[in-house]
């Protein structure tokens, strides 16, 4: 048998086995409990797709995640270039950035909810806060990584500061920024969901919280399935965008292997 075909069959078998196991546990040992059968979850999922409220929540989630990400990207790159361009500023901010970077936004969630309330702004701010730090740190690293010989060459050709920035520094920092964006895009979605789930901000996170609090288990599972697909879409899109936008850079060019 063809190897690819066999691989495909085994993959399909894995999915089918997982679903069958789920269905068996849900209808057999745990029937009537908190685990809904696959069939009920899928029916609920179909019901959601026909429901206007679901699409509003989905749109809210996407808008918050993307708006927060976009703001974080602009602010992060600008700040990163400024910090990276001046040696004293880089040293002055190093310890502060290194301290703040490993602290996830969920830590400041109580404060942000207290200040903004359970609103769109609250979720947006959390996404912004969570994404901007990694982008700043990566941009600083990228600016710092610019080849000194290229910089000297540009200087001896008499290029001005802005020109060097646009033609040497930024292009060489691009892969760093690209990596930061690829990591930040799925994170933006996760933070939006966290803000809704724990902070009551609008979107799918709040829908999940309501389904759980109301004991509506098929809906809860249907939302989690939707989030899984959405998460995959975010990861795929950011990977694709990174590869498309940065294909010209040396570190992305395909190495020919025999």
């Amino acid at each position: 048998m063809n190897r690819n075909l066999r691989q495909l069959l085994v993959s399909a078998g894995g999915i089918a086995a997982a679903l069958a196991l789920w269905q068996f546990i849900a209808t057999g040992p745990m029937a009537g409990g908190p685990l809904p059968p696959v069939s009920a979850t899928l029916a609920e999922l179909a019901g959601l797709l026909a429901d206007g409220g679901f699409w509003t929540a989905l749109a809210d989630t996407l808008v918050i995640a993307l708006a927060g990400l976009a703001a974080a990207a602009v602010a992060g790159v600008v700040l990163g270039v400024l910090i990276g361009s001046f040696e004293p500023v880089r040293y002055a901010t190093l310890a502060v950035l290194e301290f703040l970077k490993p602290i996830p936004p969920i830590v400041i969630l109580p404060l942000v909810v207290l200040v903004f309330g359970p609103t769109t702004e609250m979720s947006w701010f959390l996404v912004f806060f969570g994404c901007v730090l990694p982008i700043i740190v990566q941009t600083v690293a990228g600016v710092h990584d610019a080849d000194p010989v290229t910089l000297d060459t540009a200087r001896s050709y008499g290029l001005g500061r802005t020109e060097i920035l646009a033609r040497v520094t930024l292009p060489s920092a691009m892969p760093f920024i690209g990596t930061a964006m690829r990591v930040s895009a799925p994170a933006a979605l996760v933070i939006t969901v966290v803000a809704g789930l724990l902070g009551g901000g609008p979107g799918l996170g709040r829908s999940i919280y309501q389904a759980q609090a109301g004991g509506d288990y098929p809906t809860l599972y249907a939302y989690v399935v939707v989030l899984g697909l959405l998460g995959l879409a975010f990861q795929g899109a950011s990977q694709l965008a990174e590869r498309r936008l940065l294909h010209w850079h040396a570190s992305y060019r395909e190495v020919l292997t025999p």
Binding site: G14, P34, P102, P110, V194, G205, A211, Q212, Y217, L232
Partner: protein, 257 residues
Amino acid sequence: MNRKLINWGLGIGTPLLLVAAWWAVSQNSTNTFFPPLATILERFQALWLFDHFGSDVLLSLRNLALGYALATVIGVGLGFVTALVPVVRWALDPLIHFFRGIPPVALVPIFISLIGFGIEMRLVSIILAALFPTLIATVDGIRSVDPSLKDVSAVYRLTRTEKLAQVYLPAAGPQIAAGMQVSLQVAFIVMIASEMLGASQGIGAMTLLAQQSFMTSDMWAGILLLGVIGFGANMLFELAKNKVLAWYVGSRRLAKS
């Protein structure tokens, strides 16, 4: 030399200056959201040192440590099997990728509905959420082991255990470490989230409770403690990583210069 000294001074001085500025600006603050830093530190001491240390701080930290440790062991082990046995890889690949897409915190409500609000729920949530970054990194790391390394180990007729422990594990080490670092972050986030969603014990639960009852200084104290834990856990990981992967860090530095 002089310049270096100034840079060092800036690096150490700025954080101190910022804290001092926070202290000074907030000193007479009557804003309910931003109480004076002095009050926050007072509450910090009153709450965490050591009144709720045993009942809440240790509980959270134990959940984090135990959940994270189990997640890495399962993740690396399952990763090895998945990467080296094609049938397992084909069967599990789509499932792994689907679970990876789910925001880890969204799994917490499911575990609450299945196991309730107890410690087991928090532990299971942490394990399952932190499992995937390590698992995926392990699979990728082993899959990208240099083929010539495999050939050499075949030529030397290494036994299966030797191959696993002395060729695959070190070769995939840097990638596994990167995945484990992400797992640590996820474990920390899920630790807080699982406590915030309905638990009554733990640092996250106390911080959220303080926020809901408008005890702002207590909330700030909780945020400070969580921030310190997040930073500290990451720093410990970095130290351990640099020690274990010293050969890799050294070879990278050589390749760069």
